[in-house]
Amino acid sequence: MTAAKTLYEKLWDAHVVHAEADGTALIYIDRHLVHEVTSPQAFEGLKLAGRKPWRPSSIVATADHNTPTQHWEAGITDAVSRQQVETLDANIREVGALAYFPFKDKHQGIVHVIGPEHGATLPGMTVVCGDSHTSTHGAFACLAHGIGTSEVEHVLATQCLVQAKSKTMLVRVDGKVGNGVTAKDIVLALIGRIGTAGGSGYAIEFGGSAIRALTMEGRMTVCNMAIEAGARVGFVAVDQTTIDYLQGRSFAPKGDQWESAVSYWRTLVSDRDAKFDQIVVLDAAAIEPQVTWGTSPEMVCGIHGSVPAPEDFADPVKREGVARALQYMGLSPRTAISQIKIDKVFIGSCTNSRIEDLRAAAQVVKGRSIASSVKLALVVPGSGLVKRQAEAEGLDRIFIAAGFDWRQPGCSMCLAMNDDRLEPGERCASTSNRNFEGRQGAGGRTHLVSPAMAAAAAIAGRFVDVREIN
């Protein structure tokens, strides 16, 4: 009898091309997602070394980080951004790809949204991209992680990466979340519990009844932020929800191939007796809607909580970090989260820009208006497909009637590489993934929340418990 394996070990073993004596291995890469920011130097390096791409049909590419979310007819007005996007156009034209969704294409969108929605992310794959939120694709029982540009070049040239095996962590979320509590709240609560370095060196498998109960979009939200818990990879085992989601998508297998793939996919679960290096258990019923108050995703609490004081922390480095965060955020210790007023709202990003996210936000917004103190409330769909679906359902009209801007797809104000950004001192309720200093614009102050909580904050002009207004 073979030893019980975790899902991570199954995925790892299935991709080892060559194992070194020191435990590192050459791992085969099935899917390579490419965007404009982290790829130009890799394509250039490949060319300078006189190397050819190994398997261009593994590439799915799009322009998302730099692209504007309005006035598309004017093109990309920032010359430096335009050059980067045009460089991607030229590189993909030369090299080829399974699919390329350039700027203005009707399928263009955030790389981590378009991969899954086209069925280009399939269970059992290794998926890499020069972007840390590649962990998103782990929702499909993929070994998916972000890489740097040197590794982008390595994958282009060899279809492989040299990897060291991670330790394994099971995060089990037991029970059932309450109404108004979402995948975003689960993952923020986890990060609050284990910290932003808690998953460092680990591959996290998310399991338990509350994870099983999530849709694929919810699972993508959870896996997306595994990196914010310090883990390069986070994933969920295959179940019927996974298979149902994939059926009929454009790059998903068809006919006999579908049957053969599905029977393989059903093996992509951790064996019952498999051993994990660490197990973390969360009680779903105890999770409240979460709001971050600091400059690291671990600086988070429930909506009914309040901002801590530096002296609450025993470790001097942590105390200093909290003091610095409060100063940057312009918050006093003991301020109730519900008293924090906001200037802007951002609903979007690879964490929360899918159709279910927009539906959840629209449900809160419907028939209401954004507070007069809110200067700008943006909804940026994750892709052209999400945008058209939302428009077919009338969600755009709900948002616009309430005073939101309805924009074109892209990364937008998650990282503010385009014109969508916070001005110094502005405070934002954001459905994105990082509240770092300056992340949404120099001097900007970010509070991470779920789409429903962002919508509720837009209406109230401050953070409120979405369960109390619905």
Binding site: L122, G130, T149, G230, P253, M417, R434, E437
Partner: protein, 212 residues
């Protein structure tokens, strides 16, 4: 890649936890399609008092006197002393490119974020993990001994203080060998090209749907 064997240099301290790659090199500088020139914009929001954009003449921008790396005593430093989870966040390799362009050859800290850690090796920058007690001591020495320098001996896997105290550190054998020899990792992998092809053919037979 530049070889890394023995390195001796001035140490600069950055006493903060969770320094993210957005802080190391802000997003507006990622629009470049080059690998070099990021040094003047490393830690841009902390280093300067004004807001930086690509194309500015950084030599005339107002410097933040409170930012530790601006202090005269740390100019020319090639070893950066850091705390916990350094390099967290975005996978941007522009972060190690910027640090390297600033002259840093090694980083010493309690822990590093995985992707950043990996990216450092690809650029001949050595990230060294040491126990908290050693790091605390090094922060003290750096602050109270002006001109504090360290020697890093990679083949021997030692950080050597001027007082002779030797601190051993761990490193994966493959990474060590690559750095010491300045190997081109892609070239190394391509030595296995035949094996990669065989693996790929087998995978096509077993899981044709992956190659549709």
């Amino acid at each position: 890649m530049e070889k890394f064997e023995k390195h001796e240099g001035l140490v600069a301290p950055l006493d903060r936890s969770n320094v993210d790659t957005d802080a190391i090199i802000p997003k507006q500088f990622l629009k470049s399609i080059k690998r070099s020139g990021f040094g003047p914009n490393a830690f841009d929001e902390w280093r300067y008092l004004d807001h930086g954009e690509p194309g500015m003449d950084n030599s005339v921008r107002p410097r933040n006197p409170d930012f530790v790396l601006n202090q005269e005593r740390y100019q020319g430093a090639s070893i950066l002393l850091v705390r916990v989870n350094f390099g967290c966040g975005s996978s941007r390799e522009h972060a190690p490119w910027a640090l390297q362009d600033c002259g840093f050859r090694a980083l010493i800290g309690e822990s590093f974020a995985d992707i950043f850690f990996n990216n450092c090796y690809k650029n001949g920058v050595l990230p060294i993990v040491l126990p908290k007690a050693e790091i605390d001591a090094l922060f003290g020495l750096t602050e109270y001994s002006p001109g504090f320098r360290l020697t890093i001996d990679l083949p021997a896997q030692l950080v050597v203080r001027p007082d002779g105290h030797k601190i051993p550190f761990q490193i994966d054998p493959f990474r060590k060998e690559s750095l010491v020899n300045g190997w081109d990792e892609i070239g190394l992998t391509l030595r296995h090209a035949e094996k990669i092809r065989e693996f790929e053919e087998r995978r096509k037979r077993e899981h044709a749907w992956l190659f549709a």
